[in-house]
Amino acid sequence: MTALDKKLLRDLWDIRSQALAIALVIASGVATSVMSLTALDSLRVSRDTYYRENRFPDVFASLQRAPSSVARRLAEIPGVDHVEARVVSPAKIELSGYEEPIIAALVSVPVDRLPGVDRLFIRRGRPVDVGRLDQIVVSDAFAGIHGLSPGDRLGIIVNGRRRMLTISGVGASPEHIYQIAPGSVFPDFEAFAIVWMARETLAAALDLEGSFNDVALAVRPGASVAEILAQVDEILAPYGGLGAYDRGNQLSHRYLSEELRQLRQMATMFPAIFLAVATFLLNVVANRLVGTQKEQIAVLKAFGYSTGAIGWHYLKIVLAIAVLGILAGTALGAQLGKELGELYMRFYKLPYLVLVISGPMVLTAGGLSALAVALGTAMAVRRAALMAPAEAMRPEPPARYRTTVLERLGFGAWLSPASRMIARDLERRPAKTALSIVGVALAGGILMMGTIFDDSFAALVEIEFRLAQRDDIAVTFVEPRGIEVLSELRHLPGVLRVEPLRAVPVRLRAGHRSYRTQLEGVNPAAELRRLLDHRHRPLDPPATGVMLDDFLGGYLGVRPGDTITVEELTGRRRTRTVAVAALVRRYLGVGAYMEISALNRHLGEGIVFSGAALAVDAREKDAVYAALRSRPGVAGVVVRDAAVARVRETMGNNMIVFAIFASLFAATIAFGVVYNYARISLAERSRELASLRVLGFTRREISAILLGELGVVVLAAIPLALVIGRALCAVMMVGLQTDIVRIPVVVDRDSYAYATAIILASTALSALVARRRLHELDLIGVLKTRE
């Protein structure tokens, strides 16, 4: 090894603690990147493998009913590989010992052969046996929560009749990775199950022998899906087809894709921040290093080392730190990525996780980091390389100081000389001061993201489930019913209030844009279900016209006063134009709304309702559940409080994980920035501080001066951190606005305090560590040196 390399190693050793701090920051950035990308790739590959192995269909369609012969016509559409005609139905589940309503989606499976599409993944037990048509396969998430195993029996109430069926197996299907009950937005594995049963059994229960009401198709690669959708619609229209859709609109696939997209966003945003901070830190350290070694550089140059060699030497120091960080970050990131992937796998109930750590991805992440680092320190290195020897030998002229702004404004008397030292030092190098403040502020901002997410989500739940929806139970009927149904519900003991609901599937069109959603009826002067405007005030529906969620309005490009086309997908299937009366604000899902009697008139089917929202006496709720369960006309029952509690728990856990990560990373950045600042300050002022010690200042007094400077930087950073935190969150949230969920950016007051507290703690810790160096001040040596 050359002498220059030995110098390199020793120099590195000299600045080891600062180098370590910076390497930590780089490692954090690389780790976040590798973690997210590993999880992302693993999830994607796992999902794609699952789709492939279990034949996730390409095209889906629901209809009223059609004879099985129609399925053969579907198979003849060019480009279609497989057709699986099936029977589906909502149902209620009776579970002994569990009072709350459970709804299920029943899906038929053929028992005499493997289905061409959408094959089940059996986790435990066996598929439905040919000879035992009373068997079912139950979704594994539901079975897991309720402790069900093959051999257990389950009461299924379908079409008004109750049957006891035996569980033959527990499994999953790629069509139901995201299991969301109709009318809900979040998965609820406790109150919603998917049940697969023999086609013959289900068809018989629904009086659909020899018919089907749902179909899934596999499409040949290269075929035009749009063409096939159009043809399917044409064939199924006379049978009450609701409109075919492809994977992009399939609920489970859509939700999953959204999640992966958000993960990708995280994978790019955080590492960018970390690397920015790391680059800045390295820049400062490198400059400092070069500054202190000016004479050495001069000597080397005088003795014939080329500019390139000197530049490369300093670049190597910087790269050594970067490489250390990258390696550590990659290892950590891969491990975390695996765990994150497994977390997601358990959350989504994917059958398995294919762990993918792509070499190119890691190399890219590492390479980008190294590049960023090198670019950031280029200036310092260049300065080192290009210094003329003679100039390098000359001592630095004394730094020029000026009175600060504060003093000129007359506050001088309020500052002690020590404070004035601090203030003037900060003003003398505004760039360094400003960047340090920004560094700490970034840390604080990241910290705030964790709590802001939590606050925002809590606000969303509050608005949606406290202001907009205040019912205790939401009931849906198998078929729309007349006004007597309200009276029947009101008569149930324990029911305090009943508000009718009506919803029909429609397609909205404005110009060239269309969207498929539900048109819901709204009661004027309602208590339980209300619409809110953008200020979250209840909005009474106007007598005519349709209202849209503002997100949907934006998507379709319409404003109040414009007209849109409403195409009914069921019933009379008419298409009419309606005026947009107002825009409403919701955060979960999107829809269109109309005053309920206007809707009934519009649909021309008389006064009928598709469901009801109930307020229930808490003491009688079990009785109400039983009454609803025993009524064949009731298709689904959702207990709001329970659902919200479960959503809170799920999301809450996610938030905690996210918040912990964010806090750790933020603390790392804060620590790194402050520690480096402290060390560099110390190095630059050791002479001053030693002189003061000689003059009789105690250690406490000079550490106060050192830390005082730090304190000003941190205190200045805190308000900036709060601003940055909000801004970062707003940026992230914008990317998260979808038609599924939109999260408002809400910051509770205690978030500010929390972020402040952690920043202060983190910086106090690093300052104390740096302060130990103060004890090593060489009082004597300092008096004999010039600088």
Partner: protein, 397 residues
């Protein structure tokens, strides 16, 4: 100088501490409030029902023959004695003494029925007058609050029943009279047709009213006793509501009822006349069996208000089970269960305080408060788990 610096330091610390303290100080929870006030609480029972023409009569063919075409349409007005249809006897029908005797016997029976109907009418007139007098007397006493409200209600119910029976009896007399006329006509016709070759029998409407239903239109052979048309006086309507048997028990004759959503704008008034003693089984809207009891209501609003109503029109009957015109009340969404009783969150000095509440009757939107709340207090509606005892609350004005 030093003092200034020390002051500056303390100020800075104070500001920081204040900032942190303020930040951690729990935010007030945003809620919606409503005031406890005095007003009307109405406990009601609502059920769909339909109108019914009180007295209907089905005109049947008195004898076999060929009935001509019935020109009358449903909704046409008929007067008493108006010809409904012309009956032509079958061509060859040997006459015998037995038939003549039968015809005569029928006439005699009809006359006897008329006599009975007449006596029933006389009896019902007396009963009706008695009931009406009783009602008048009790209502006068009630004006001085010397009798219980229920007694008045009962008397009113009885009076209404009496009047109705009288009307029915009168109607029955009319019908009987027409039956006599018809039997006599049939008998005459049977004997006369011997003398003439063919005779036609005019079937006439026994009463005035409107055609409610027409059972046949075209000319065709007809059997004796087959229905031709149904005639009723649509100005004389009642309402039938099939109540759940559990509800029928709480309802009593004379109970005031409001009729809504019948198509006209105003709310019509009615009273319960009769709760039938037997129920029947019906399938509910959601598919379970229920026991229903028909309850009959009489209109108390003037006819001019509901003359557009016809037979079997849908109305919604809202039975007032209990009415308190001026009681302490609060919106029902302010109450929540606490153990076996109810409680509410009262806002006191900007904080939520839970209080046990004694509730009385429950109306549609309001609940009667017996104790626990005072007039004018603010209570939280739809309280949820964010609100703890003593929590600071705020609301939009």
């Amino acid at each position: 100088m030093k003092k200034k610096r020390r002051i500056a330091r303390w100020i800075a610390l104070a500001v920081l501490a204040a900032g942190v303290g303020y930040s951690f100080y729990p935010q007030a929870v945003t809620i919606e409030v409503v005031r406890v006030d005095r007003g009307a609480v109405r406990s009601a029972l609502e059920e769909a029902g339909r109108t019914r023409v009180r007295n209907r009569h089905v005109v049947t063919a008195p004898v076999a023959g060929t009935a001509g075409r019935i020109a009358l349409e449903v909704g046409d007005t008929v007067v008493a004695g108006q010809t409904i249809v012309t009956l032509t006897p079958p061509m060859a029908l040997p006459l015998d003494a037995r038939q003549t005797e039968e015809a005569g016997a029928r006439v005699a029976a009809a006359r006897a029925a008329l006599a009975v109907a007449g006596e029933e009418l006389a009896a019902s007139v007396v009963a009706a007058e008695l009931a009406a007098a009783q009602r008048a007397r009790l209502e006068a006493l009630a004006a001085h609050e010397q009798v219980a409200a229920e007694a008045v209600q009962t008397a009113v119910g009885a009076a209404l029943q009496g009047a109705a029976r009288q009307r029915a009896a009168a109607f029955a007399v009319e019908v009987a009279r027409q039956e006599v006329a018809a039997a006599e006509a049939a008998a005459r016709w049977s004997s006369e047709r011997v003398r003439r070759n063919t005779t036609v029998l005019e079937v006439r409407s026994p009463v005035a009213g409107r055609v409610l239903a027409r059972f046949r239109q075209s000319a065709a052979p007809i059997q004796a006793g087959e229905p031709l048309v149904e005639i009723g006086d649509t100005a004389d309507l009642e309402v039938v509501v099939d109540l759940l048997s559990a509800d029928a028990v709480v309802v009593f004759p004379g109970m005031p009822v409001r009729l809504l959503r019948w198509g006209g704008g105003e709310v019509l008034d009615a009273r319960v006349r009769l709760i039938e003693p037997a129920g029947h089984t019906r399938l509910s809207a959601l598919g379970v069996e229920e026991q229903r009891v028909p309850v009959v209501l009489d209109f108390t609003s003037p006819l001019s208000q509901y003359e557009r109503l016809g037979d079997s029109f849908r109305v919604e009957a809202n039975f007032t089970l209990w009415e308190g015109p001026d009681v302490l009340r609060v919106t029902d969404s302010a109450l929540f269960r606490r153990g076996d009783g109810w409680a509410a969150f009262v806002v006191e000095e900007g904080r939520a305080r839970a209080r046990a509440v004694g509730v009385g009757h429950r109306g549609e939107r309001f609940v009667e408060i017996l104790d626990g709340l005072r007039e004018g207090e603010l209570v939280i509606v739809h309280p949820d788990d964010r609100i703890a005892e003593g929590a600071r609350v705020t609301w939009a004005p």
